[in-house]
Symmetry: C2
Subunit: 145 residues, 2 copies
């Protein structure tokens, strides 16, 4: 029951919340021992803050919950590949594993360097990729109208 | 009077505050029309938050002050070269100019990619470099004792 799709669906629900709030629909959750300890979605518009990406908010909340800066026992699920800023934050947190849905061919960190994440951080990609992409495509299609 | 050294000295004062608080001594200020609109120093220990780098805190404060996510009329002064996380945040803010003191040969963004900052962001380096490095070296010398 507790598999990658299970947790990514929670991240997707967060992305849907962002969509409803007219924010770029990206969601993230941090999981530790099969328990969601943080969930967040993009809130850059609400907070007038370019750093308020889903991953940054989720990392900050997870650190607060654990009262620990180091998240090496945790997994971050995020619907879209992290940008350089978020990959850099994940590096500093030494997060155990990152699982993302779709690649971001424009601003995903892997477009710039494969070395942004911590060398000990495991990586898995493509989980519910199509669902994440569809949500983003719908969002930007509406924006262009 | 209002030159790069003037503003970098304010960033260095912030770095000294960090030093006194047992935080890695890095400071940053955001300047707009020769006015300091935000200043900050590293607070990762105090906040138990790896994202609480001087640059991130300064960007967030500047956005709050201007009520604008875009800082294209502003200059960020920071004592040490930004890491990938901070360079990524500066990208999203489309900041007008970044001026840093010393290069960070380990985690500075330019070790990974020259394309982390926004293509329109101007860059200047080496301002009060030695002062920034001395502070960092003293800090880590004390840590190893």
């Amino acid at each position: 029951m507790y598999n990658n799709k299970y947790f990514m669906k929670i991240a997707l629900k967060e992305a849907e919340l962002a969509f409803k709030e007219d924010e770029v629909p990206i969601g993230a959750v941090v999981v530790c021992n099969n328990t969601v300890i943080a969930k967040a979605h993009n809130q850059t518009e609400l907070l007038t803050d370019v750093t308020a990406h889903a991953e940054i908010l989720a990392i900050t909340a997870a650190q607060e919950y654990l009262q620990n800066k180091i998240l090496d026992k945790c997994t971050l699920y995020v619907t879209l590949e992290p940008c350089l800023m978020c990959a850099g934050a994940l590096y500093w947190s030494r997060i155990g594993k990152v699982i993302f849905g779709a690649f971001d061919k424009k601003r995903g960190y892997s477009q710039f360097t494969e070395k942004a994440l911590h060398p000990k951080t495991e990586l898995e990609t493509g989980v519910l990729e199509q669902e994440a992409l569809t949500l983003l495509q719908d969002f930007f299609k509406n924006k262009r109208k």
